[in-house]
C-alpha cells in the first residue's frame, strides 16, 4: 500500500535524524506517540509518577537502541515494546518489594486475617495521585491492578493506546487469537472485580 510505504519512509527518515542527534527529530518522535504511550504506561503500572519516569526512560532507551530497529515493525510497535518491557521490569521489582513487605505485615498482625486483595487495593489507593483522580478513575485503576499483567497489558494497549490486535500480538509475541482471548478475559475479570465493588457499595448504603 502506498500509504504505509510513505509512512515507513517518513519513519525511517525520522529515526535517521534521531540517530544524528537532531533535537527537532526527538521532539517530533515524542509528539508523534506521547499521548497513547503515556496512557498505556499509566494504566499498565497504575502510578502516575512512575509512569512519568518510565515514559522518559522509554525515549532514552529508544536513543540508545536505535541501531536495533527493524523496519519490518512499525515505529510505534517498537516503542511500545520498549515501554512494555520497562513497565514489566518495574512491576516485577514492585512485586518482590511487596512480597517482602507483606511477610513483615502478616507476622506483626497475628490473629488478624488480611486478604491479599485488600492489601493490593489499599496499596494502589495509597500510591495514587489523589488530587488528580476522580472516583471513576480510582475504581478503574484499582480494578485494573487486580488483573494479571498480561491480560491488563493487552486490554490497556487496546483501550488506551488504541492499537490493533495485530500490533498487540507483535508486542506480546503471541498469536492474534491469544491476544483477543486475553482481552476478552480481561474484560470479564474486570467486570467481576468492579461488580464486587458495586455490590459492596450498595450493601453499605442499604444497611
Amino acid at each position: 500500500m502506498a500509504g504505509s510505504e510513505e509512512r515507513m519512509n517518513l519513519e525511517e527518515d525520522l529515526l535517521h535524524r534521531c540517530a544524528r542527534g537532531e533535537a527537532a527529530a526527538y521532539r517530533e518522535l515524542v509528539e508523534r506517540i506521547e499521548k497513547p504511550l503515556v496512557n498505556f504506561i499509566l494504566r499498565f503500572v497504575g502510578e502516575r509518577h512512575v509512569a512519568e519516569d518510565l515514559f522518559q526512560e522509554t525515549f532514552v532507551r529508544v536513543v540508545k537502541t536505535l541501531g536495533t530497529f527493524r523496519p519490518e515493525a512499525s515505529l510505534s510497535t517498537w516503542i511500545f515494546t520498549i515501554a512494555r518491557n520497562l513497565s514489566l521490569d518495574w512491576l516485577k521489582a514492585k512485586r518482590r518489594h511487596r512480597e517482602m513487605a507483606l511477610d513483615a505485615a502478616t507476622s506483626e498482625e497475628k490473629g488478624r486475617v488480611i486478604y491479599f486483595k485488600d492489601v493490593l487495593r489499599s496499596g494502589v489507593a495509597a500510591l495514587e495521585d489523589r488530587a488528580q483522580s476522580t472516583e471513576d478513575e480510582r475504581r478503574v485503576t484499582a480494578a485494573l491492578s487486580g488483573l494479571s499483567p498480561i491480560k491488563r497489558e493487552a486490554l490497556v494497549l487496546r483501550m488506551y493506546a488504541g492499537l490493533q490486535y495485530s500490533e498487540i500480538a507483535r508486542i506480546q509475541g503471541a498469536p492474534v487469537g491469544t491476544v483477543k482471548f486475553r482481552i476478552h478475559e480481561a474484560l470479564r475479570d474486570l467486570s467481576k472485580l468492579m461488580g464486587v465493588e458495586d455490590d459492596r457499595t450498595s450493601a453499605a448504603q442499604g444497611g
Partner: protein, 298 residues
C-alpha cells in the same frame, strides 16, 4: 444461537468490535434471555467505565523533559565513542562500529559510494569524527555529511542524479536517493528515479526533474490569548518566531511536497512550493522563472 455462542461474542460487543450481522443475532438472543442480558449489561458497563476514565493529556514539560533526556543520552553515547583511551581499543572498535551503524543509521543496507564529489567542500571523517577537506573526485557514501563554506561550491554526481551545493550549504546523505538539507541551497536534477530531499523539520520533497531547493528562514509573528488553569486570561506581547522552511523552485518535471503532518501537494514546472511554519505545503506561481541561475554565474 445458544447461550454459549452468545457469551463468546459479548466482550466483542461491549468493546464495539462486533460486525453488524453477528451483533444483530446477539441482540435477538438478548431480547429473550435474561441471564445473557445481565452478563452483556455488566460487560458493557465495565467497558463504559474504562472509556470514561479520562485519558491523560501529554504535557509540554513531560515532552521537553523527554527530549532533553534523549539529547543527554545521545551526547553520552557520542562522548563515550569519541573518547579515545590508549590500550582499551578493542571494545572501542566495537563501539565505533556501532556508532557508524547508528550514525550511518538505518538505510546503510548497501554500503558503498552513491555520489562522486567535485568542487570544494568539507566532509565529516568517520574515522576521526573531525571535518576535513574533501578530495576532488572523492566517493561519497550513505551516512556522509558534506558542507560548503562561504565562497565555495561543490557538485555531487551519481548516475543520472546531480546535486549542486551552493556556498554555505550543509547536507547529509541519508540514503542512496535521499539527502537531508540542513542549511543552504542546492540545485538538484534527478534522472528518471525519484530523489528525496528532507529538512530538519521532517518536511520532505520528492523530486523527478530539475529543481532548486533551499532552506529559508520564515519569520512569523505569534500573538494571542493564553488561558491558564485559574481561568484568568492575559495577552502576551506579540513575538516573532524564526523557523526554517524548505522552499522548492521547479524548473522542469514535478515535485511532491510531503508536509511533516501528512499533508501532500504537488508542484509543477514554473511553480514554487514551500512549507508553512506548521509544516503545511503551499504552492504558488514563480515570480522569477529563472531556476538555478547561480550555478551558471561563474
Amino acid at each position: 444461537m445458544t447461550c454459549a455462542d452468545v457469551r463468546k461474542l459479548l466482550p466483542d460487543l461491549a468493546l464495539g468490535d462486533l460486525d453488524a450481522e453477528p451483533a444483530a443475532d446477539v441482540a435477538a438472543h438478548l431480547k429473550d434471555c435474561g441471564a445473557c442480558r445481565a452478563e452483556s449489561g455488566a460487560l458493557g458497563r465495565t467497558a463504559g467505565a474504562l472509556r470514561a476514565a479520562t485519558p491523560v493529556a501529554a504535557s509540554t514539560e513531560r515532552r521537553s523533559a523527554a527530549v532533553a533526556a534523549m539529547a543527554r543520552a545521545h551526547a553520552d553515547l557520542s562522548a563515550r565513542l569519541l573518547t579515545r583511551r590508549p590500550r582499551a581499543w578493542a571494545p572501542l572498535a566495537a563501539a565505533a562500529a556501532f556508532l557508524i551503524a547508528v550514525a550511518g543509521a538505518l538505510t546503510v543496507r548497501a554500503p558503498g559510494a552513491v555520489f562522486s564529489l567535485a568542487g570544494t567542500a568539507r566532509i565529516l571523517d568517520r574515522g576521526t569524527g573531525e571535518w576535513r577537506p574533501a578530495l576532488d573526485g572523492e566517493k561519497i557514501s550513505v551516512g556522509d555529511r558534506i558542507v560548503t563554506d562561504p565562497g565555495t561550491r561543490a557538485r555531487l554526481a551519481g548516475g543520472a542524479t546531480e546535486i549542486v551545493l551552493d556556498q554555505d550549504t550543509w547536507v547529509a546523505i541519508s540514503g542512496p536517493r535521499r539527502v537531508s538539507l540542513d542549511r543552504g541551497r542546492v540545485l538538484a536534477s534527478s534522472g528518471s528515479n525519484e530523489l528525496v530531499v528532507t529538512d530538519m523539520a521532517n518536511n520532505c520533497v520528492r523530486v523527478t526533474g530539475r529543481v532548486e531547493i533551499s532552506v529559508r528562514d520564515i519569520t512569523s509573528i505569534v500573538a494571542g490569548a493564553v488561558e491558564s488553569k485559574q481561568g484568568d486570561q492575559r495577552l502576551p506581547a506579540p513575538r516573532s518566531v524564526v523557523e526554517k522552511s524548505l522552499v522548492v523552485r521547479v524548473a522542469s518535471g514535478e515535485v511532491a511536497l510531503d508536509g511533516a503532518r501528512q499533508q501532500r501537494l504537488r508542484a509543477r514546472a514554473g511553480e514554487e512550493g514551500k512549507f508553512e511554519a506548521g509544516g503545511k505545503p503551499v504552492t504558488e506561481k514563480m515570480v522569477d522563472p529563472r531556476v538555478g541561475a547561480w550555478v551558471e554565474d561563474r
